[in-house]
């Protein structure tokens, strides 16, 4: 059955590995849903979180194929029950005549106001993907002017780590 899942990777050579991963995904007919890459505490290493849709077979293949990439040091499927997942979104909404309502909605979602103009407001929201989707749904009618999301970032709960860079 097709469902959404997330994988977490520890990679070397961040600038090149980005191309390698996305090339692999296209080559193997996986459709990327979200992709985020960022530096870690150790220079030369980056952490990547990818979400895609697929069945169990695709899930297994994706992990195996990613693990085979030279610069991918570790690839693991994220278990939703044992993972902290966050996404950040910046959204610009039309407020003409309805500023109060927009701000009320923003307050309910604990969204931060980043910028304001006479006819628009720019807000930041962090949370799990579902929360961001729900917020977008609530403000859609006011008129979303622009929206930008980071894609999912995630870490396993507890002291366990994906990959110990000290041993690399």
């Amino acid at each position: 059955m097709n469902s959404k899942f997330a994988v977490s990777l520890m990679v070397k050579n961040p600038s090149e590995v980005l191309t390698r991963i996305s090339s692999l995904m296209t080559q193997r007919n996986f459709v990327i849903d979200t992709f985020s890459l960022g530096e870690t505490e150790k220079s030369g290493y980056a952490r990547v979180t990818i979400t895609i849709k697929g069945d169990e077979h695709q899930r297994e293949q994706l992990l195996k194929q990613l693990s085979k990439l030279y610069d991918v040091k570790k690839a693991e499927l994220l278990e939703p029950d044992n993972t902290i997942m966050r996404e950040l979104m910046i959204v610009k909404v039309n407020t003409s005549g309805r500023l109060r309502e927009v701000l009320d909605t923003a307050a309910v979602y604990k969204s931060k106001i980043l910028d304001m103009s006479p006819s628009s407001v720019c807000m930041e929201l962090t949370g799990e993907t579902g929360k961001l989707d729900a917020f977008l749904n609530c403000i859609r009618d006011y008129g979303i002017l622009e929206c930008c999301r980071t894609g999912l970032v995630a870490l396993e709960r507890g002291t366990n780590c994906l990959f110990d860079t000290a041993t690399a």
């Binding site: 390698r20 297994e60 030279y70």
Partner: protein
């Protein structure tokens, strides 16, 4: 000692035991060629007709198993020419190292003369590729390329060296040749489960692929087959994993496999699959493939397990260790009933319309008669390749040099040149008018190098394999498969400085092949074969053992 980058390339090649490279010079490898000039007493450079030929030659060189084939090309069009050769080696898991020159680092990305994005282009057709932007990394990166190429599941690795890195100097310290990584040990627990399955099996079969050839463990395959009292079927890449004279040898299975190999795989209760990847051409309809059997999949690459087929047991790791463990721990089996069944399968044969033209099987039997057991036999791609796989009696591992996974028409001559140089033996190329048309420029290379090649062109004046599909599945609408070319292959051979002969009947053929083997130089024999011969048996695409066509 302080050396230039281009000289370090030579030193590291020598470290790795490389004494032959295939390549073509160009603007961005001038410095490497300048170093080759200096090292020419230790590294023999073979100039090919183009970079594709160099890549196929390096690939054919590797397939002999002596050492890793190396090819060198310039940037831009050199790299795009190289691509087909890289993809061919990649699809067949052949270790190879490609060294490419590139524009100076500061000019990268400026659409310089002869610049392409080498790394981006070659990423999906190599096991890995490197670009070296710092001279300090040069020696170790080339070493790493050799280690990667031969470790685990082998494959081609490309090293891109911008011109300024070739000319920079740095301290060079020699090192011993890199060793390939030890393959991971297979799980004893899983192997014990496999032992149990084989012991309980009444109709066991081994199914061997290119992994067995790469791991050089054909003896272990034969030993396991003996003790398990199993028959053996092969993917095309695994065809030389067992002596074809063995009564257990059933030949190739799949789309153009033998009736007995495909049927026995279908009827088996346990399939011991060693180093195969179950591609569509080998399995047909995956839902119907071996649906009544339990597959034990042994492979070095765990991503191949459960990729194409849902195996019952997946054992990842050293193939030879797995095979030896199984042989040691299973009971000596005696599957009498299975023998009776399979021997009956062997009686089934194909029929084709009567003709007085030369038949492919006659050509192959004649070549077979004059060739030695260890003669490397290269092919191109198409009907002649399938006929070679079906009719040629291979006796020794690594004697069949062919493009399996990618099916590269034009691989043959380059592949044969590489195989001939690596083995030092007279080498056969079985090709066809269509495939030979794609790579005949490499005749120049074979002649320059004085190579003893017996090139047999099966000229049926057709692009036969595609025509066969048009006959059977496209209502005889022969679009672009009857080329009506006027090429005189005898004159063509002579124009290149090779020896040319033509055979229209069995008597011509016999004397031509005999003479070709005696000449020990580059010889082309054009055989005018039957235009209507099809490759049989055939399973239609997505079919199964139930749909084998015998006529």
């Amino acid at each position: 000692m302080f050396l230039k980058g281009s000289e370090i390339v030579m030193e590291v090649l020598l470290e790795q035991g490389v004494d032959t490279v295939f390549g073509y010079p160009g603007g961005q490898v001038l410095n490497i060629y300048d170093a080759l000039y200096k090292y020419q007493d230790r590294i023999h450079h073979v100039l090919t007709a183009d970079e594709q030929g160099a890549a196929h030659a390096a690939d054919g060189y590797s397939r002999i198993g002596k050492n890793i084939g190396v090819c060198i090309s310039t940037s831009g069009p050199g790299v795009t020419n190289l691509m087909t050769g890289l993809a061919t080696a990649h699809a067949d898991s052949i270790p190879m190292v490609a060294i490419t020159g590139n524009v100076p680092t500061e000019l990268l990305g400026t659409d310089c003369f002869q610049e392409v994005a080498t790394i981006c282009l070659t990423m999906p057709v190599t096991k890995h590729n490197f670009i070296i932007k710092n001279i300090d990394d040069l020696a170790d990166t080339i070493r790493e390329a050799f280690r990667l190429a031969k470790s685990g599941r082998p494959g081609p690795v490309l090293v891109d060296i911008p011109k300024d890195v070739q000319t920079a100097t740095v301290e060079y310290t020699p090192q011993p040749a890199v060793k390939k990584d030890c393959p991971p040990c297979p799980s004893t627990e899983l192997l014990n489960e496999a032992v149990k399955l084989i012991n309980e099996s009444k109709r066991p079969i081994l199914y061997c692929g290119g992994g067995v050839i790469n791991a050089d463990c054909s003896e272990s395959v034969t030993e396991l087959a003996e003790k398990a009292d199993a028959y053996a079927a092969f993917s095309m890449m695994g065809l030389t994993a067992m002596d074809s004279k063995s009564p257990r040898y059933l030949g190739m299975s799949g789309m153009h496999g033998s009736y007995e190999a495909t049927t026995a795989l279908d009827k088996a209760d346990v399939i011991i699959a060693a180093g195969v990847r179950f591609t569509d051409r080998a399995t047909g309809n995956k839902n119907r493939f071996a649906e009544n059997s339990k597959i034990i999949h042994l492979d070095i690459d765990y991503a191949e397990q459960r990729k194409n087929i849902n195996s019952y047991l997946n054992i990842c790791g050293d193939l030879e260790a797995s095979l030896k463990y199984l042989t040691e721990h299973i009971e000596q089996k005696n599957n009498l009933q299975w023998h009776t069944e399979v021997e009956a399968m062997k009686e089934v044969s194909c029929t084709r319309p009567k003709t007085d033209k030369l038949l492919p099987e006659t050509v192959l039997a004649t070549v077979n008669k004059f060739a030695a057991d260890d003669t490397p036999v290269a092919t191109d791609v198409g009907q002649h390749q399938m006929w070679t796989a079906q009719y040629y009696k291979f006796r020794k591992p690594r004697t069949f040099i062919t493009s399996g996974g990618l099916g590269t028409m034009g691989f043959g001559l380059g592949g044969a040149i590489g195989a001939c140089m690596a083995s030092g033996k007279q080498t056969v190329l079985i090709t066809s008018d269509g495939s030979f048309g794609m790579n005949l420029n490499e005749l120049a290379t074979a002649v320059s190098q004085n190579l003893p090649l017996v090139i047999v062109i099966m000229n049926n004046k057709r692009l036969g394999m595609i025509r066969q599909w048009q006959t059977r599945f496209y209502g005889n609408r022969f679009m672009a498969t009857i080329p009506d070319r006027k090429t005189d292959f005898v004159k063509l051979a002579e124009a290149f400085g090779a020896y040319g002969m033509r055979a229209e009947n069995e008597a011509d053929l016999e004397s031509a092949v005999k003479k070709a083997f005696e000449l020990k130089s580059t010889v082309v024999i054009e055989c005018l074969t039957d235009s209507n011969a099809d490759v049989l048996p055939m399973i239609p695409p997505n079919g199964s053992a139930d749909n084998i066509m015998l006529q």
